[in-house]
Symmetry: C2
Subunit: 426 residues, 2 copies
Amino acid sequence: MAAQTVARTTDSVNLGPAAALSCRECGHRVPLGPVFACEECFGPLEIAYDFSGYDTEELRKRIESGPANIWRYAPLLPVPSDVADKPNLNPGWTKLVQADNLARELGVTGGLFVKDDSGNPTHSFKDRVVAQALEAARAFGFTTLSCSSTGNLAGAVGAAAARAGLRSCVFIPHDLEQGKVVMAAVYGGDLVGIEGTYDDVNRFCSELIGDPAGEGWGFVNVNLRPYYAEGSKTLAYEIAEQLGWRLPEQIVVPIASGSQLTKIDKGFQELIRLGLVEDTPYKIFGAQAEGCSPVSAAFKAGHDVVRPQKPDTIAKSLAIGNPADGPYVLDIARRTGGAVEDVTDEQIVDAIKLLARTEGIFAETAGGVTVGVTRKLIENGVLDPSKTTVVLNTGDGLKTLDAVAGTGLTATIRPNLDSFHEAGLA
Amino acid sequence: MAAQTVARTTDSVNLGPAAALSCRECGHRVPLGPVFACEECFGPLEIAYDFSGYDTEELRKRIESGPANIWRYAPLLPVPSDVADKPNLNPGWTKLVQADNLARELGVTGGLFVKDDSGNPTHSFKDRVVAQALEAARAFGFTTLSCSSTGNLAGAVGAAAARAGLRSCVFIPHDLEQGKVVMAAVYGGDLVGIEGTYDDVNRFCSELIGDPAGEGWGFVNVNLRPYYAEGSKTLAYEIAEQLGWRLPEQIVVPIASGSQLTKIDKGFQELIRLGLVEDTPYKIFGAQAEGCSPVSAAFKAGHDVVRPQKPDTIAKSLAIGNPADGPYVLDIARRTGGAVEDVTDEQIVDAIKLLARTEGIFAETAGGVTVGVTRKLIENGVLDPSKTTVVLNTGDGLKTLDAVAGTGLTATIRPNLDSFHEAGLA
């Protein structure tokens, strides 16, 4: 892998304010390139920005007059300044729904909001991260966009590549449900089933990156991961702007790899440093399913490291048993005064129905996890109902219909009024 | 029915610029109320507006500084001026995608755009019309929102009622596919299966409106139809504004009842009259599935009336065999120099895949109909590829996965490089 990535690393890459890659562990800096692990300590690389020269009020105006998608924040992302003119899916600027009905049910008095990312082009937050990876792929001259996936990511990569005119080749376990295969295959890229588990798929992708056959391939969540991950910052930016340029006091975020939660914290910190919001305290809460709760378990046990688990939950989009950013999540939850909690599959389903019934939002299982954890944290006195609270819904219920398959008809009647009255529906 | 509707008719109803109901056939005017048929000639009632006193440039500014949803056009809709502050799903302001890849495939040189209404809250254009019906329901004091439906509308009504805090009671044929039942039931309203066909469901709803049991019920597509239908005007407004306040030269619209097509024409005409766009010529093209093509058949035969058909097509959201607005559609297509055309189920599936492959948009079957008809009209020399053309996608492919169920894996391999190379994927 080293040979390929070094060859593609160049100082002339134009990714806007992205200045270099920097190791989150040891701080070692390398030029922008398709690398993700520190050559010194094997720590994760992330984007280091040069935000110098930004005038706060000029920047705010530029953002507010920008497009109604993530590219309004282009000055804060690893993308060229003309990104909005390029063919991509233009995700983001999804609704921040003031959830007064849900607030009443949960007893929240300080203002409750649902950030509803089911409004993205392929109906999950993955469009945000893939859009960043796509720009990095273009900058590094990659011609194939790739990933390993079991669901949302496959569709997001297939759609983004189609629109951008790149080839896509997505790897999935060969025995995935037919519905998910169709959703990923419809965009016309290559969709390859791997005889093995999701772990086998991942291992194969790492092998392919190091092989000449992988030359010219950008794996959004592997060799483009430092760029990809930054897409989650846009959730923080949008929430703050939609609240009138202020930070929420509490936010509940789902945990899969944990990357999203860490980037939301990074986004809030940047907004403070840039003067776009006041430096008011916020607590970040992580949400997991009980059937895959390694970070929640570590938080409760007071550990700094995360012990891997074998996932067994209906919240498949969160089912990462060995979350790479787990230790960073623990650190952020503790530092901000938040917590990490988990809910059972039954509580997830109840929460999906609660959100649908109160706000007309049909969330995927990951949304059931955040709403369910919010309810539990309030009941346990951990989350303060008198404070402004934002809950993330990162995906769409249409993709996880099985979770609520028990939902059905209230009644079946014959087509006449007598039958209607007998059923007690008036 | 008359007794109930007259009782609820009042001159003090505040629905913004909506001044009265007016018969499209004989022009007879009645006060705003939950009525849909002219008492003189049984013609369809529609909203008559009072747009007097609008200054063009003030109106344009007010729209442009409005919210990123349909309520930016509140001054042109039958809704109170504070509509944006009420709990509703805030649909609209969906993406107008510049479809350069699709344009290349179809040979369009004058600019091709897809208006992608899968971005609405419940992922179909029905959210636009239901949002209008909801405001009318509130104005008339209805406490239950209802409809007959076989799909998209059920979910849109259930979600809108949940968010607005109204009861919902939706009627569907009892033997609908389980997936569609789940999508409609998840919002927690009453979902009633009727033992019979969709026609039986409709007949029963009309009976219920005339019964005391239906007191306080707003049927979005029956007694609230004049308000409901106006929601489709917002498609015209958004397209014109997103094109920089100009009309497209050609637009391809799907036909179910035909209402949407007539309201898009009405919207364009209003924009011209209000001075918001120049009075440039536009052609409106209607699109049907061959398996339910009563309007297309009448257009080709040169008839003014539409002979009902028994639908048999995968495009179920367009499968209305006896379209109420058929004659008006024929009139508009002929008056604007457009046409009505149909495509086979196979062409619909091909078009869904074409749109996904070129633009990363996964459309429901109705979107396959419009894209397929666009291709056919270009091939036949009816649609001019040198002119600016807008194609509507009114729904989401996730809701009609069966249509593309044949789509699948490119290859299945073992998790190693040898197997990858053997499959010829490099």
